[in-house]
């Protein structure tokens, strides 16, 4: 009797949900046809006819829109992965400094977290770009010939060039996310009971050894879920690239929408790209989480 009631209820919820979804999809299709915007993806293979400043793979303006979108995706991936690494590194250092015994370091890291977390990311990006990189003058730094060259066009380092746009986005995202990661790390460390600190100290382990071998392994299960959501935020925040002139997937789609008028198709492509990217991040972190839990159990 009880089971029966439950399944009827579930069936009802399903009918309401899928019915609602059906109405919405129907509505979308009707409206798309009415406004003459029926789904069509053939434009993807027409020449894009716009140039890109940054392209990790060969690209010319006679390549297809699909290739341009792929280049944009690579550009996004480049900035997301590199920011992810720097943000984790910075965040861990600051998180440790914030929880450590050194008073001065504690104050500085607390100040850093406060300032970074309480100003909007968009403003920070604009600051890095317009105030930070664009005001660099050619004469400001001594150029060590052919090795290291800084100007407002970016940084050139032994043949590798990084544009100001990329650097502003990379640093902006890393610094912003690192403040959040620092708090996640601090939360994780504080979740380990104070007795553990006393225990390793009484065993004669050094502070560094104690943290890396006793505290961090126990803090990791509390850190990883928080870290995952920060990584996801970082990936999504990378679309603010458009504010500093970096050609990420969103900026390129913005141009394509204007040239082709295919807003809905472009947004579907964008949403699916980010969905897939974030699924990769979530699943990788899930695996890491399982591994740490396992190692704790048997370690």
């Amino acid at each position: 009797m009880k089971i029966n009631k439950k399944s009827v209820l579930q069936l009802g919820v399903c009918i309401i949900f899928f019915g609602g979804l059906g109405i919405l999809i129907n509505n979308l299709t009707i409206n798309l046809i009415r406004t003459g915007l029926g789904f069509n993806f053939t434009w993807l293979f027409k020449p894009a006819s716009f140039a890109l400043a940054e392209h990790p793979l060969p690209y010319t303006s006679s390549d297809s829109y699909a290739w341009a979108i792929f280049i944009g995706w690579l550009n996004s991936l480049k900035v997301i992965v590199s920011s992810l690494i720097l943000a984790t590194f910075l965040g861990t250092l600051i998180g440790l400094a914030r929880t450590g015994k050194n008073f001065l370091l504690g104050i500085i890291s607390a100040g850093y977290i406060t300032v970074v977390r309480q100003t909007p990311l968009l403003l920070q990006l604009m600051f890095w770009y317009f105030v930070g990189f664009l005001s660099l003058n050619d004469n400001m730094f001594i150029q060590i010939k052919n090795i290291f060259n800084i100007s407002n066009e970016g940084i050139e380092f032994s043949g590798l060039t990084f544009s100001s746009e990329f650097l502003a986005l990379f640093l902006g995202l890393s610094v912003f996310t690192s403040a959040y990661i620092a708090e996640v790390i601090r939360g994780g460390i504080l979740s380990v009971s104070g007795g553990q600190w006393e225990a390793f100290r009484s065993l004669g382990l050094s502070e560094r050894e104690g943290i890396t071998r006793i505290i961090i392994p126990q803090a990791l299960p509390a850190i990883i879920p928080g870290l995952t959501s920060q990584y996801l935020n970082l990936a999504k925040n990378s679309t603010l690239a458009i504010a500093v002139g970096y050609s990420d997937i969103y900026a390129i789609n913005d141009t394509i929408i204007n040239q082709t008028g295919r807003a809905i198709e472009c947004f579907i492509i964008l949403l699916i790209s980010f969905l897939l990217l974030n699924l990769v991040i979530t699943n990788t972190m899930e695996i890491m989480n399982k591994l740490t839990l396992k190692s704790k159990k048997y370690g």
Partner: protein, 348 residues
């Protein structure tokens, strides 16, 4: 897998939710009249065309065109709500019905005007522009060729981006485009020296330069990269509204040709009423012929328009004339009989 499925379902729900626009098939012309307000999409950031003044009101040529539409459709040029839009937002805003029409420095092109493209319909051109390049005088750059291998600041998502590419590609010159989302960023990037040149429509370059600290240190190159006929636009499937818009603009041009101004309009109406033999004037001012009704407006719409905004020449003088903040020589924007290209078909 479960997450992927739930993600896609969520995505579909989100998308469908966004696309629910009203299904009213009748013209927006009636909607505007019933609402007693015209919702007009503008840029809001281009001095001389549409610019937000310190008192919160909008000013410029594009703004006055909106006011002329409101005067013709509602009978009151002040009944306009302005919506500032970015270049990327503007077409979607028409398609979703967020705005009634667009009067925002929009270039009239085939793909924008066609059902297979952006699905809009353009009203007659209100300003003939062309894309240009602005450089710093001290850079000693004199033509397109001097810009080879240099960075150029461009606004993204506009025909500007395509034109600059076409120009450099056909001259086989390599260049680096630095793309920003709006003109203010293009200007900031250019002034800070990120690019050797900035490119935009020449009118916008002139407008931007008027706000620089030292306008005289910047020159606009003679190279004109494109024809940029700027025109208001509306939904391509709403012929009633586009008819009305088309003839309101022609009335502005025709009034200038006939010497009918904001000041002498009442006098001209009186003359037309007193002289039955002045047939073209009587038709134009709606005393005979019932022309206004045919496009869903009142017969005296021309009188309402001219008495509130003045004719095309007066609008131009007010915002882009020699004594305005953004002086741009009329050039192509003169009437056809004075060396320009503006001409109105007959009001018959």
């Amino acid at each position: 897998m479960r997450r992927l499925v739930s993600g896609i379902v969520g995505l579909a729900a989100l998308l469908t939710g966004c696309a629910t626009t009203n299904q009213d098939n009748s013209s927006r012309l009636n909607l505007i009249k019933n609402r007693n307000e015209l919702i007009c999409g503008v840029s809001g950031k281009i001095p001389g065309f549409s610019f937000l003044k310190s008192d919160g009101s909008y000013q410029g040529l594009d703004v006055d065109i909106c006011k002329a539409f409101a005067a013709a459709i509602i009978g009151d040029s002040e009944k306009v709500q302005f919506r500032p839009l970015t270049a990327a937002e503007r077409f979607t805003a028409i398609k979703t019905g967020e705005i009634d029409l667009l009067s925002r420095n929009t270039t009239f092109t085939l793909s924008r005007d066609s059902l297979g493209g952006n699905g809009l319909t353009f009203a007659p051109v209100v300003f003939h522009d062309g894309q240009g390049l602005m450089v710093k005088k001290e850079s000693r750059i004199n033509s397109l060729k001097d810009l080879a291998n240099k960075s150029i600041c461009v606004g993204s998502g506009t025909t500007t981006e395509q034109n600059i590419n076409d120009a450099f590609e056909s001259a086989s010159l390599p260049y680096t485009p630095i793309k920003y989302q709006d003109l203010n960023q293009v200007v900031a990037g250019y002034l800070q020296g990120r690019c050797a040149a900035m490119t935009s429509d020449r009118s916008q370059l002139a407008a931007a330069r008027s706000g620089f600290k030292n306008p005289k240190e910047h020159i606009i190159l003679d190279d004109v990269l494109s024809k940029e006929p700027l025109a208001p636009a509306s939904d391509g499937q709403d012929q009633k509204l586009s008819d009305a818009m088309r003839w309101v603009i022609f009335s502005l041009i025709s009034a200038e040709e006939q010497g009918i101004t904001k000041v002498n309009i009442d006098q001209k109406v009186q003359i037309a009423k007193d002289n039955p033999q002045l047939k073209p004037l009587r038709r134009f001012l709606g005393i005979d012929g019932g022309l206004g009704e045919k496009i869903g407006l009142s017969n005296d719409f021309v009188i309402k328009v001219i008495s509130s905004t003045g004719n095309y020449g007066e609008i131009y003088e007010r915002h882009l004339g020699q004594n305005s903040d953004v002086p741009i020589p009329r050039g192509l924007n003169e009437l056809y009989n004075k060396g320009g290209v503006h001409i109105s078909p007959p009001f018959n």
